[in-house]
Amino acid sequence: MLKNYITTAWRNMRRSGLYAAISIICLTLGITGAVLVTMYLNHELSYDTHHKHHESIYRMEGVYNMAGTTHHLAITPFPLGIAMDLEFSEVEAYTRFFLQEDVLVKVREDQFREDGFVYADSMVFDVFTHHFLHGQAAGALSEPNTVVLNRSLSKKYFGNENPVGKTLEINQETFTVTAVVEDLPDNTHFKYGGMLSMVSGDHEQFFSLNPELFWNININYTYLKLHKDHSMESLMEKMDAFYEKYVNPMGETFGASAAYLATPLRETHFASVQMAPESSSRATLLIFSVVALFLVIIASINYTNLSTARASKRSREIGIRKVSGASQGQLLTQFLSESILVAFVSLVFSMMIMEILLPFFNSLTGKTFSLLNLFHGSILAQVLLITLITGIAAGIYPALVLSRMNPSLIVKGVPATHGRSGLLRKVLVVFQFAISIVLVVGTLTVQDQLRFLQNKPLGFARENKAVISLQGAQIRQRAEAIENSIRQNPLVLNTAKSFSVPGRDHNLNAVKVETETEMAEGAIAVNYIDHQFVDMMEITLKEGRGFDRRMRAEAGSAALVNQSAVQKFGWHENPIGKQIQRNFNQEGQPQSILRVVGVLDDFHFLSLKNPIDPIMLILPENPSIYRYLVVEYLEGTHAEVIPFLESVIREFDQSRIPEIVPLTQPFFQEFEAEKNMGKVFGFFALITIIISFMGLFGLSSFTIEQRKKEIGIRKVLGSSSGRVLKLLFKEYSRLILIALLIASPVAWFLMVRWLEDFVYQISMSFAPIVIAGALAFAIAMATVSYHTLKASRLNPVDTIRAE
């Protein structure tokens, strides 16, 4: 029987050419979207599950409260792991990863700059699962100056040799390779390439339990593995005594408190925490899933629409089958197996399309998916299930309609009438267009918002400036000499040195500030700058004065603050001369006292994701603190200036690869996720528009085919082609208008919610809705007019006779 169904389905598909093609193309697009998202979801939800003990591993995170400001950080102080291991019997093992950025590796004559190195405790292999290619876990990181490399680094440094026992130089220290492990898979939240033994170098601070170190937070991540049958909840209940012993006494001296949280390893990928190595958001997953679901739905709608519209074409077959003894159930099965067949044919096509789309999808998601991923684990089963469900969803309604037809009417050649399914088709077209409109509005709004952020005035002059990283103590001490060399170039207009630059991390100081009644606790960001910095960056001075070259005593004692600081500390009357105390010792005495000499206009010293916080700019007492040199050059000379700057840096330090980037780079980089989201929106919007367009194309072609006689009669009675066109336009315009009315408030609501996440946001306007609506109208009208004109050009005599 199934053979008979498939034969009929296949021959029907071939006979109905255009309609079958439309159904298959749309289902192919829908299934492609769904399969891509399935791959993505599987990947995202499988993070860190390759570690054997992943269920008992936790990442420790710190929540710091300083002067009313709370920071939730994924990085932790060095002693946390040791202390918790010491205090709690639940802890079986711990390891810390002290991240080393921009490491210089020398192997024989070759030099490499690496970001993927960490200092790790020797217990790392008890906590995390690594597959050893050479060497073994036991003792691999127990000795000073030992290193474990991953496969990629091993190959990069030593080719195919076994590197165990060989040495390499890392940041001018010699390390011996003790083992090589397999590369961590892509679905690992923290990817490191080389592990240096924690007992190396200047390691006293790594193993000290000095309470001061609990407040000295480096880029150090702490992971705990608990004994089986112990829960983290019960451990966390005992933390109060831990805080009292290690954390609180020191914190109280400067009015700060800290608490530690434990995130299960599998959750770390989704934890929204500052300084996390890599994280994703569940919201993104949800958006992806919803959009994919919509794609499948609207693709299925086309199948449903075209099948019910064409029901009358199949009605004779149904009648014959019924008089031949087919039950309703058998016909239902027949039509469902037909739609499932179409879905599986579409799946085959979607595999081909995916092969083309995957590079683009990978660039959007930053992943490295290939078609082979489909055959891993349960993904194939999920994909087949999705296809089956799509087939059933697309076919169920037509199957019900068709199988319920009354055979007595059909066999006499009376065409089946579908009053209700005609309405349903309209509803489905409205639904399709509504979704397309929502996605188009989404795409346009995301683009508007990103454009707004990119063009937002930052409060400083950002153009024609390059930032040179001053790497290493040696080069920092020679900053002035480098600066002088650079200034020799006539293309260079100005230079300035600073500890941090806008868009990058700034230190936060716990301070006491002078108010009318007392010294109040507060927190303020700090940047150390030279005399040129404020002028060169064109930051506006609102009140007071800038730093004075003639007053040497200003270093470490004068501060420029921004307006946010003035507001936060309540210095509205006269901020100039106000005192700021900082660097408190264990007795709570300030080691540094500053006085405000000038107030600057607010400028975006952090990312545009943050509001502008208080900041103070200080001339440092020690000029070698500067980490950046900012160079302003003549407009249009970027291409010439950068190689020049590189050559100057090389003159001063040949051991490093110069790092020179435009000042604006961090601001452009930080919205990558949103940009990708915009691209994803755009991509899916395009697919939904194509699907909706094709659905409408098929449907209107069919409707007009059915109305050829009507068009013929109208023409015989004197109507022009134009009037016939108008008649049909009216019908479809109504549907698009309803879709627009439904979609607009939904899109409005969703985008307003999305914009709320931005500190700086555009206000939602009607423009995207108008554009999306116009686009929908244009597409619908183009489709309808194509068919109508074709039909209305026919000789009415033929169309009437044909009926």
Partner: protein, 234 residues
Amino acid sequence: MIKSVDLTKVFRTEEVETTALNKVSFEIKEGEFVAIMGPSGCGKSTLLNILGLLDNPSGGEYVFLEQEVSNYSEKQRANLRKKNIGFVFQNFNLIDELSVFENIELPLIYLGFSASERKKRVEEVLEQMQIMHRKNHFPLQLSGGQQQRVAVCRAVVAKPHIILADEPTGNLDSTHGDEVMNLLETLNKNGTTIIMVTHSQRDASYAQRVIRLFDGQIVTEDKATEFVLSSTTQ
């Protein structure tokens, strides 16, 4: 075999109510060849649909093979239909997407015959009807007469008790029409009950008796020897 008592069929639309059959009563015995005649719109096809279990009557009784079926569900009717009734239509009603062989085997599929049994039975009737050479052709590749022969093959392949023929020669020229009528006559002689709706006096002459309908009622019967006419007018 078939007995109808006061069989009534009313079609209702939102505004109009049409009585297609008005208290029609008659009986047909096994092995009979009965023609139903009457002008267009007199209710012939409606009666045939009810007799063929394609539709339920609005009122009255319909006894088919000693079962009162007038209130049967679609499923029950389908079940009874597929085992006992074969249909032949004026417009042949073959499925264009299926070959001659596939069209003929359709009733056997729904009766759950195995593939080998189906092949045997289909080839038997193809031989009988002398269209074996066309078995892999599609309906649109055949002449009208050939198509109707295929339709007759399909109607008889499951060896039904009754064949219902609705204007079986309506779309055929007289030569092909006679061919089909001879086929039906042969089947009847071999024991199959045949009920045929027709406009053609010539076709009706093949039948043993004729029921004439007018405005949904039986007005007369020819060659009536064994059956009782009971038509009530209001």
